[in-house]
């Protein structure tokens, strides 16, 4: 396995290889489903129907997709800077805290048009701040960002439990959750928005956050590929030494990338708390931060790829819930298994199908032309 990696044609690199990776993940899932004693195709039918079989199902699929877009973008922005942000979970959690605190403080005085932007700003600010500490530690003190962001997930979780149990809990409530937000702290649901323009859809958790998600995608794309800061960020990711030579400040760019990453993760709080729960609850990030790694890997860290990957993950999340309902032998955690396998096959084992693909290409291409370098000097 020590032969150097040879490049593939662009189409194979961008489309074929990722698709084969995902296919491998799904074949493995099929085997696991088989082991449990369920017909994989039978399960797949329920999964697809559950995800896109009705207006309500599509609504929920898109609602889950929204979260995956936010965390996928968060991981991707850090990836482009050569940083691995495993802290999306904690940043989403603290982002939600910021969002909730802003609403709890002002929702009695402010109208919705002022409250909503303020809460969103608070969510991004808190998310960014939570990512800024590991970023600072990496940039100035040289601590490894993978470890520090992992640690910060646990610290965020402990902090939230403390705050919810001791400080923010609604008076008289038995469960650790805050008081309900008033109407001005509620993000309109997609059903209401579409009904206003005369389109009838079934009620679901889908809310205006999905529009924010689309804006974030465009924003990240413009930022990364069409601004000098994005250029510096990507340069640092490709080659930090070259970036330094070109005059980029590694410290500043690390801070920028991580704060942006944390802010994007913070949007999960907006979707969950303002869009759905309408109060601060425990454990609302529910693994979206980790799933963001899978989304970013699968989407090759490009906003368009991330949207496609997030759609798939959203469909899996919603379809998986329906599947668990229809076939009791399968639980919702099957979706978590799929996420893990996608991270494995699209991430750690991404190059597994490469030699095989190369062999196939060489087989098809060599009789006609000599453009594929069939043989390279070995050794």
């Amino acid at each position: 396995m020590s032969a150097p990696r040879r490049p593939l044609p662009a189409w194979a690199e961008i489309a074929a290889l990722p698709l084969i990776n995902i296919a491998l993940a799904f074949v493995t899932v099929g085997i696991i489903v088989r082991i449990i004693g369920v017909d994989p195709f039978h399960a797949l039918r329920f999964l697809v129907l559950g995800a896109i079989g009705s207006s309500e199902a599509i609504g929920y699929t898109l609602y889950y997709t929204t979260n995956f877009i936010f965390t996928g973008l968060a991981v991707a922005v850090a990836f482009h800077a050569g940083l691995f942000n495993i802290g999306g979970e904690g940043q989403a959690y603290i982002g939600g805290l910021g969002c909730g605190l802003a609403i709890l403080a002002f929702d009695h005085f402010l109208p919705a048009w002022a409250m909503i932007p303020l809460a969103i700003a608070a969510a991004t600010l808190f998310g960014a701040a939570w990512a800024a500490v590991p970023a600072w530690l990496q940039a100035w003190r040289g601590s490894h960002i993978v470890i520090t962001t992992i640690m910060f997930n646990f610290v965020a979780s402990a902090l939230m439990v403390y705050l919810m149990v001791n400080v923010l809990i609604a008076p008289g409530s038995m469960t650790p959750q805050s008081r309900n937000f008033t109407a001005s702290g509620k993000l309109p649901s997609m059903q209401e928005v579409l009904a206003a323009v005369g389109i009838q859809v079934a009620p679901s958790a889908l809310n205006l956050s999905i529009v924010l998600a689309v804006f974030c995608c465009v924003g990240v794309w413009v930022f990364l590929w069409h601004t000098p800061w994005g250029y510096e960020l990507r340069t640092m990711g490709h080659n930090p030494e070259a970036a330094v030579y070109a005059g980029t400040s590694i410290k500043r760019t690390t801070m920028l990338a991580m704060c942006l990453s944390g802010a994007l993760a913070g949007f999960v709080g907006v979707n969950e708390l303002m869009g759905v729960h309408q109060r601060i609850v425990l454990d609302f990030p529910a693994g979206y931060g980790f799933a963001g790694i899978a989304v970013a890997l699968m989407g090759r860290s490009h906003p368009l790829g991330i949207v496609l990957a997030a759609l798939l993950f959203g469909a899996l999340q919603q379809g998986g819930a329906e599947l668990a309902f229809e076939i009791p032998a399968i639980t919702r955690e099957m979706v978590v298994v799929i996420q893990g396998l996608i991270i494995l096959f699209s991430g750690a084992l991404a190059h597994l199908p490469r030699p095989w693909l190369q062999w196939m290409l060489a087989l098809f291409a060599s009789p006609r032309s000599g453009e594929v370098p069939a043989k390279r000097a070995e050794g």
Partner: protein, 306 residues
């Protein structure tokens, strides 16, 4: 006086009990990290092992078959990690994260399908578990002693054997090891397998010694605390063991302090004590308490030059 003695003894026993999986995991992780393979997946390995230990013990009625199954399960995960990181030179952190997520999902999926108890395994009878040997109140089951013995053993292997010397070399400068005609991949595979062995024992301890069965996410971050202990111990066995004991003591204290008023400062938030291992490790990593230097080649896949 007797009260004080028995309190100290019970506190000590509680610390040791909580620290056992941390120690085992940390020693396993040390082998892996020393060889240059970063292991974020300790948590997942331990969880997988805990599930298979409890499931096997419940089905066969034998605790020792449970331990064997735990080791096999953890080794399977370890081999997967090795296959991805050594053979295919994949990103070690990505592979570790994948193993954690896979284990979190798979244990519940399989548990629910096999036992239909929402991801839990049936409660184990005492003959299906590893019971305390000498002090029933202290919970001194065999893995506790194994954990205590594993520390000098790990030190001896890493510091005093030829294998250990090569292990350290491959974590610092694989090129030199390769040039000496020793297989980098095989050395690293052995390290990863040792890591799986210890993580498997740690998982078995959790589900069939400390508890009577598996429940979802029962590792609850202990794999990461073990990772923190490795860093806190600056990648050396005895200091890492010390860190595990400190973290174990913190946990034991946290349970004791629940709802207790401390003189002068009111009630200490339990969550703060629970977050302390992570916060302390961050302080250390930031260079505020000495310097923690990882093996130089950790996290870098080795590519033979051509």
């Amino acid at each position: 006086m007797d009260d004080v003695l028995s309190f100290v003894f019970l506190m000590f026993a509680a610390t040791l009990r909580v620290a056992t999986p941390l120690v085992l995991c940390a020693m396993g992780g040390l082998f892996s990290e020393k060889s240059g393979i970063v292991d974020v997946g300790l948590e997942g390995k331990m969880l997988m092992a805990a599930f298979f230990a409890a499931a096997t013990a419940a089905v066969t009625g034998s605790a020792w078959l449970g331990v064997a199954a735990a080791i096999v399960a953890a080794e399977a995960m370890a081999l997967l990690h090795g296959f991805a990181c050594i053979t295919w030179r994949g990103n070690q952190v990505v592979s570790g994260v994948a193993i954690n997520i896979l284990a979190a999902g798979l244990t519940v999926v399989l548990g629910a399908a096999w036992f239909a108890r929402g991801g839990q395994t049936p409660a184990l009878e005492s003959e299906q578990r590893l019971m305390p040997l000498f002090f029933p109140r202290a919970g001194d089951s065999i893995p506790v002693y194994v954990a205590l013995a594993s520390v000098p053993l790990t030190w001896w292997i890493i510091e005093r054997t030829r294998f250990g010397l090569r292990l350290r070399a491959v974590g610092e400068m694989p090129l030199a090891v390769d040039a000496a005609g020793i297989s980098v991949a095989w050395l690293r595979y052995r390290a990863v397998l040792l890591c799986g062995l210890f993580a498997g024992l740690a998982g078995a301890y959790l589900s069939i010694a400390q508890n009577a069965g598996f429940s979802r996410d029962m590792t609850a971050g202990q794999g990461f605390i073990a990772l923190a202990a490795i860093i806190f111990g600056k990648w050396r066995p005895f200091p890492a063991f010390g860190a595990c004991l400190i973290f174990g003591l913190l946990d034991a204290v946290a349970i004791r302090l629940q709802g207790v008023e401390m003189p002068g400062m009111g009630e200490v938030p339990v969550q703060l004590i629970q977050a302390l291992p992570y916060l302390l490790t961050m302080f250390l990593l930031a260079g505020f308490i000495g310097r923690a230097v990882a093996p130089k080649a950790a996290g870098v896949p080795y590519e033979k030059e051509h």
